[in-house]
Symmetry: D2
Subunit: 347 residues, 4 copies
């Protein structure tokens, strides 16, 4: 059985496990004040081109989203997001459980459009009843989106300009950031991304770590009491070294970018193969997630040997599925997947 459901099917990049083992008995203080975290923070700052950035490590994406949003919003504010945004659908209401509404915008490929955002904000303040409504207090986007799509530098700049105009922060969910930055054709780099938002995180869980995301506030004054808000959310690890060692490793010798690039190469190879077979794409993306349409009977067959993610029904007789590559995907695994799909389609 081969698995392509998602990008968190294996443990960690082997170098991370080696480093955990090498450093295991070094005594370090807790709660992120250890030497490993300090070193990792410096490397993350350098990679982002933000020497003053505040960098916090946290366990996973839902937690990162919940804590950043909770820390940045005031009582009367909500967070603007695409209707398909992860925070709006698949986080069990974490944002609302902290008291804040998710204010939804339409989306294309999971992306919100600058025009839609501007229109929404203009309408809000023109509505005489707006003091009876939730104020838009920040904007949340994902890069790559939940559909594997990417913002261009120009698009990101426009969104950020609108946010600055309305004095609300722009926050980027980067659970799969590495796969976005290493995609073919993107004009965004980590420093350019950091320059064009107010908060973001660099996903570790889906890009080679056992767990952990690195939250970056390019301007350290953005969230001065962030540690305490993390603690309040149960999001501070006693052995912060676990995050420190992982991110220190990922940001040594460009490991994070090299393994991200590998996943992209595997995805490109997979896309090419699926096209050759004549597979039907719902959405072909520049990142590590590909969305395809199969007949339900085909899927049943495929499921015997291949693990995939059922995205949603496409119509009565077809279903949309996701295949994901990752830092751990091997060329032979893609070959096996392609063989299995070909068999199912051409029988």
């Amino acid at each position: 059985m081969l698995h392509f459901e998602c990008d968190y099917l294996e443990g960690a990049h082997p170098r991370i496990l080696e480093r955990l083992t090498e450093t295991n008995l070094v005594q370090q203080v807790g709660y992120g004040e250890d030497e490993f975290c300090k070193s990792a923070r410096e490397k993350v700052r350098a990679a982002c081109g933000c020497p003053d950035a505040a960098v916090h490590f946290i366990g996973g994406g839902t937690q990162a989203n919940a804590v950043v949003i909770d820390a940045l919003l005031a009582r009367h504010q909500g967070v603007v997001a695409a209707q398909t945004g992860h925070i709006n659908v698949h986080e069990a209401g974490a944002v609302e459980s902290n008291g804040h509404k998710v204010l939804t915008l339409p989306q294309v490929g999971g992306k919100i459009q600058a025009d839609d955002l501007l229109h929404y904000l203009e309408q809000f303040y023109q509505d005489g009843n707006h003091p009876h409504m939730v104020y838009p207090g920040m904007v949340y986007i994902s890069h790559p989106t939940e559909y594997g799509m990417l913002y261009t530098l120009e698009e990101l700049r426009k969104l950020h300009a609108i946010c600055r105009q309305y004095r609300i922060p722009l926050f980027i969910d980067g659970a799969r950031l590495g796969y976005g930055l290493m995609a073919n054709g993107t004009d965004l780099t980590l420093p350019l991304l950091a320059q064009n938002c107010d908060a973001f995180y660099i996903g570790g869980t889906k890009v080679g770590a056992l767990c952990g995301e690195a939250i970056v506030f390019p301007n350290p004054d953005t969230a001065p009491f962030f540690f305490t808000v993390m603690k309040q959310h149960g999001a501070v690890l006693a052995k912060g070294r676990l995050y420190g060692i992982q991110f220190d490793t990922l940001f040594t010798d460009d490991l994070y970018f090299r393994i991200s690039r590998h996943a992209i190469e595997m995805a490109e190879y997979l896309k090419e193969g699926l096209h050759k077979i004549g597979c039907r794409f719902f959405l072909e993306t520049p990142t590590n997630q590909q969305f395809l349409i199969f007949e339900n009977s085909e899927l049943e067959k495929l499921a015997e040997t291949i693990g995939f993610d059922i995205w949603e029904p496409f119509d009565e007789t077809h279903t949309m599925v996701r295949f994901a590559t990752s830092w751990a995907t091997q060329k032979e695994q893609v070959d096996s997947l392609l063989t299995a799909v070909a068999e199912v389609l051409h029988k």
Copy 2:
């Protein structure tokens, strides 16, 4: 420099790192549905003598407390705890941030007394104004307490009987549970503890794991939607295998109990040595934490070679400090600590 501040100064028990490395490329589904978690759950159930228990893995103690309390309380209820309870002091208001008051009782060595609990509950319901007040909806205790002290089986039975009488659950914070169960003179075992409460957790972070606590509901109907409440709290790890592998390892061949016992033996050896030197105890405990009183000038000296935890000022010229042993403490380290203390005291 030697460290005795706490019991989370090192990484993980080496066997855990070996297992993480051995299993690293085995593909497994996420969110705790992997084979490692399933196996770990079975072993935890067996160790607790609770074949039907619901077992959930979570990152750390503050998170475990916040999620269990949030899942078990209704809107109008708060949680009863000792004034020194971790949830009341050192969790940045996590319980309150979820909407619930901590209702405090007096304590001795961090323990609440059955009489105080009963008196509080009786008074509450006798007060004609109680519908204007927060209802006591559960009781939280720590075992060992924040002061390293232990409940006896009889004491625990009494507290649980009162809780059952008032139909509220009893929840035990077991961040250091291993050290409590392996202490000299305790008459509590893991099955006896499980029989005398409604929810508890087995601390991993402080007892040999990189991170992770195993929450146990002996009766699986106690919190039927617990997974979703965890998700809402950002407390579900995508790579649940990280918890599964750790707890599977800790509950194989009694590793959890053996390493806990080692910490106790080191603590006993430390206590004996400190007594010989003539050290002044604030609280001598049967577990891995010892509380001592030093002159401030002595502490300054000691701090040059030894890391310890400053607990609180004792008087103008003295301070209370904590030394903790752990699964990782070596006899030679204790010897060095004793030498350093002796030098400071007898100079």
Copy 3:
């Protein structure tokens, strides 16, 4: 200047002020335990045909919605509502501020369709990822809706049957309930409504009271600690008599229904008149709110003598507005409105 913006432009029905004055110096205990509240509760129960109902008085609609929803939902649950539902748009995120997501359905005239609800619930439980999502924990509808439209008995029965099938309560926002029950052609009565939901409130603020809504739980076990949840929301009035006297008066000699019927007659007279003039309706409703479309230049003129509610832009050159009648509307006022509209339209 004449006002038709809404149905809360005047004080209270004169009989209410008389009763407040007559009883003013009678000493009564606070917090809803007074004799006036007791009498009012009995009269409300009788009018609903629910001798055992729990009846609670509360200040206004947003508060009623927030407290009922908060009292009935568990942590992992949200409330299903029409996208145009008052709780989703115009309550400043009150539901979310208490930790719960509003799960939206499409609407027609503000009404949700049984098929849409059923489909949503079926899809939710069929989605393998649903434990990562907010559970639908209750259904909220408004009767009349925010657009003045009404459910039929058959429609209400279907919605309630679906709710019972999924074991979630159906809650009816009755801020304008009187105007719905007295509308021409409705087949719903107060007892039939009470039989076909789990919670509702009888709006006082918009139907002749100074303030106050009567929340009814036909089954008193639905929300056993409702008083304490109200208190926690700051929604318990010390001088509960203010609500008691008002509802006692409104439910004496059918006053509530008689003044509601008057508003309907005024609305019918208004509709007839507007049709004669050739006014363009956006939505002609059986209740006290009517939605019309005017050219923007016409509206500017009209605004000189008539107060109306700007609902939303219709297109570049037209706007949708609302006229509302109420218990206080006089025939002469409607005549003046019609004259003013005719002047504007036919100039």
Copy 4:
């Protein structure tokens, strides 16, 4: 049967009911934008000597406390209060339900001491672990306190100076403010109080209104989105005129102060009479609440003709009770109370 339980046993001052009746059919827009509210705000500002103050009307004391505290605190902050503070005991956890901890200080007569506050704040910031704890974000006091006691100008100045030093607002619960300002011997006036805090409210419910408190922020920038936070709490009344008319009336011709003074005179007369009879005071206060100790058998007798508030058990055979006067208390009623007490004591 005569009632002295509390100061909210009757309706409203007759002048208020007259004004409600006179203005009843004047059409006014909702939500506090009406002319009555505007006029009332001006009069309140004038009485406070704060021409720029933001003034908001709200239903009752628990609501005022909850909304002000929620609006002023950030996520990581709690509110400092006396252990006996109303928000800590008798508001069903309203503050916590909004996510904030009540941080308690010792008290004397319900008052917190400047030294205790300073010590607490100093200790907090000296504790190296304070980022793991709830930050003190504001200070809450009551004037008069729940025990009827008063701060002096000097005491208030000291508390405010400490708050300014730590840059946290001082908030005064003035549910019974009128009775405090009109007490014998106080050196506080409304303008002096307004100068020495950052937020307070002028209680209406207990001082002659049917309902309503006037929240005052002397500096209008203190809580810029307060209206929306009120709305989110369900605390905005559609017919805001109800508050406007009441406070306009109370602040016309010093009515608020005159009726407050009357209650003080009745309390002084009551105290004198109780002393003559030889009654035992637990706490003799300068305001409208008096706390006395009776034998339980005496109380049983007294309860046949007099309503009083049982405060708490004093010892096995005695109980502490409260008698309160109010704007509505008549001299004859006090005489009757004194006669009843004398009979019980001297039988």
